[in-house]
């Protein structure tokens, strides 16, 4: 079983950190293998940004995503560019605050950035909100509790609470999501 996730959007949305957190939740606190990669580049100057996490029960040879099982797109540009890499039965999860054109009717649209602003007052926690949603959709791979462990390892104690809140709101939004 190999599961490939790509987190994409624009520079400054904290997607690389999100990838690291996801990989840590899965790989350190979740008992599976996880490998995380990312794309660098002049894109980092305000353009596209992406992080990938490959999850498996066995050793992972090839560390890059090839056919995505889940694509998180937090910008229209990212959605347009990367949708093509998604498997037929893959999950397309978009931040409907930024993404307005959907390549497929199966798109799961959650306004992560709006939720972030509402629950934490900080748009930049949208990445954590999205991670919450991923915990819901991939609950066989990563649990809310291991994600919380990953978060508390990386994030200063002072900011833990709002991040946990963001995470939970994302989880709930996914749970309550209706196409």
């Amino acid at each position: 079983m190999r599961y490939e996730i790509r987190l994409s959007g624009f520079g400054g949305q904290g997607l690389i950190l999100a990838g690291v957190l996801l990989a840590e939740a899965v790989g350190i606190y979740g008992g599976k293998k996880a490998v995380q990669t990312q794309s660098y580049g002049p894109e980092a100057r305000g353009g596209k940004s992406k992080a990938e996490v490959v999850i498996s029960d066995e050793e992972i040879d090839y560390p890059k995503a090839i056919h995505l099982d889940l694509l998180l797109a937090m910008s229209q540009d990212a959605c347009d560019s990367y949708y093509i890499d998604l498997k037929k039965e893959g999950i397309l999860l978009v931040d409907s605050f930024y993404v307005k054109d959907f390549p497929t009717t199966n798109t799961i649209k959650i306004p992560f950035t709006k939720i972030a602003e509402e629950v934490t007052g900080l748009k930049i926690t949208a990445n954590v909100v999205a991670l919450g949603a991923i915990c819901y959709f991939c609950n066989n791979l990563v649990s809310l509790s291991s994600m919380k462990k990953a978060l508390s390892n990386r994030i200063p104690a002072s900011k833990q609470e709002i991040n946990f809140k963001a995470l939970e709101e994302g989880y709930n939004a996914a749970k309550n999501y209706k196409q």
């Binding site: 840590e24 790989g27 350190i28 996880a34 660098y40 992972i60 040879d61 090839y62 890059k64 090839i66």
Partner: protein
């Protein structure tokens, strides 16, 4: 995300760690206490990790004015007795060549990491490649051997950085570690081994009284003991061809014996230096010879091939130079076809070709568009054959 995951080496807790950070950790584990570097993508995180970690343990980090200065500084620090490393990518590696040659000539242990990115020239700074392999062997002027290791994942970054330091100390030579953008930027869960799980070799110091010490005297290993500056063995170090005392010479017999010794010290230890790993080779009739990040694709490809009934094995070259010709020939001999996938136009394939005296049919699988070779590409190449 640089320093966060670097943990004190006492606790054996798994961490999600990048190849670059694992190289830094490996260096520290090997006893490296001096790092001089100059930022360059995709190697910068090694410097950043060293800047954070070294002062904590009494070591020194310095960002120099350029890559040449960095190479000079680590050579100086090593002469003063401190294990030293620098890290760079293609453009910086090109600049360092003269100073690397000096360290070979003066036999100063140093470790130089080149995290390969797509070239030529500035190329694509953020894309992986394996196109500095032949440069690692032949980039300097003058004829001398060098040790080049290639790493494939986080665990190897840690492990073979220690090996690189050990070789450098044991054979008094710079050792080149070739990583690439994939290996260096991929994060994997890794538990930093306990000190008891690896060995660290420290250079042999002279034991004789200073008056008897000849810093470049031959002996059975070809590696003279090395005294750090300041410990009573005052001697001369130069990039000029030198005699046993380190003094410049152009006497043919002294020149010959110096030049032959620096080849001999590496050649006689080949057995020890040439690290290769075999995967599924036992019953294979098709082989893949590979190194660095593409090893991962090769192993995947071999697994996939076996699923469809093709017996493919993999020979991973960890040591690229001195080229493990014997081990390669062994594999060539038992292969109907041998594939050499590389992110370049076929540099190691050329070395394999040299030793392939009609043993097998060699096939190159090359990619040079800034993207990694996927398992499927290798598999397809195999299926086509």
């Amino acid at each position: 995300m640089a320093a966060k995951t670097i943990k004190n080496q006492e606790e054996a807790k798994p961490v999600l760690i990048q190849g670059n950070q694992a190289i830094a950790e490996g260096a520290i584990a090997a006893g490296c206490r001096f790092f001089a570097g100059y930022p360059i993508t995709p190697a910068t995180e090694i410097a950043e990790a060293m800047a954070t970690e070294l002062p904590k343990i009494g070591g020194t980090f310095i960002q120099m004015e350029d890559e040449i200065a960095s190479m000079g500084a680590i050579t100086g620090a090593s002469l003063a007795g401190v294990k030293s490393m620098t890290a760079t990518s293609g453009p910086g590696f090109s600049l360092k060549q003269e100073a690397i040659g000096f360290a070979c000539m003066a036999e100063v242990p140093t470790v130089v990491v080149n995290v390969m990115r797509a070239g030529p020239s500035t190329g694509i700074a953020t894309a992986p490649s394996q196109s500095d392999v032949m440069q690692a062997r032949w980039g300097t002027h003058g004829d001398h051997p060098i040790i080049v290791l290639a790493v494939a994942n986080v665990e190897e970054c840690f492990r073979y950085t220690i090996t690189a330091f050990n070789f450098s100390e044991k054979y008094r030579t710079p050792v080149i570690i070739l990583s690439d953008e994939i290996v260096s930027h991929t994060r994997e869960v890794f538990t930093i081994p306990n000190k008891s799980e690896y060995t660290v070799f420290n250079r042999v110091k002279p034991k004789m009284p200073p008056e008897w010490y000849k810093p470049y005297e031959d002996n059975s290993s070809g590696v003279p003991p090395m005294s750090p500056f300041g410990e009573g063995y005052r001697y001369h170090v130069t990039g000029l061809t030198h005699d046993a005392y380190g003094f410049p010479t152009s006497k043919p017999n002294e020149v010959i014996s110096f030049n032959e010794r620096i080849f001999r010290k590496i050649n006689r230890a080949k057995q020890n230096i040439q690290i290769v790993k075999e995967y599924m080779m036992d019953d294979a009739d098709i082989s893949i010879i590979v190194y660095g990040s593409i090893t991962r694709s090769a192993i995947s490809a071999a697994r996939m091939a076996r699923e469809i009934g093709i017996k493919v094995g993999v020979l991973q070259l960890v040591t690229l130079f001195p080229f493990p010709g014997k081990e390669v020939i062994e594999v060539l001999r038992k292969s109907k076809f041998t594939f050499v996938p590389e992110m370049n136009f076929g540099q190691i394939a050329g070395e394999v070709d040299r030793v392939n005296k009609n043993y097998t049919t060699l096939k190159k699988v090359n990619r040079y568009d800034g993207n990694v070779i996927t398992p499927t590409e290798i598999l397809n190449a195999i299926r086509r054959s």
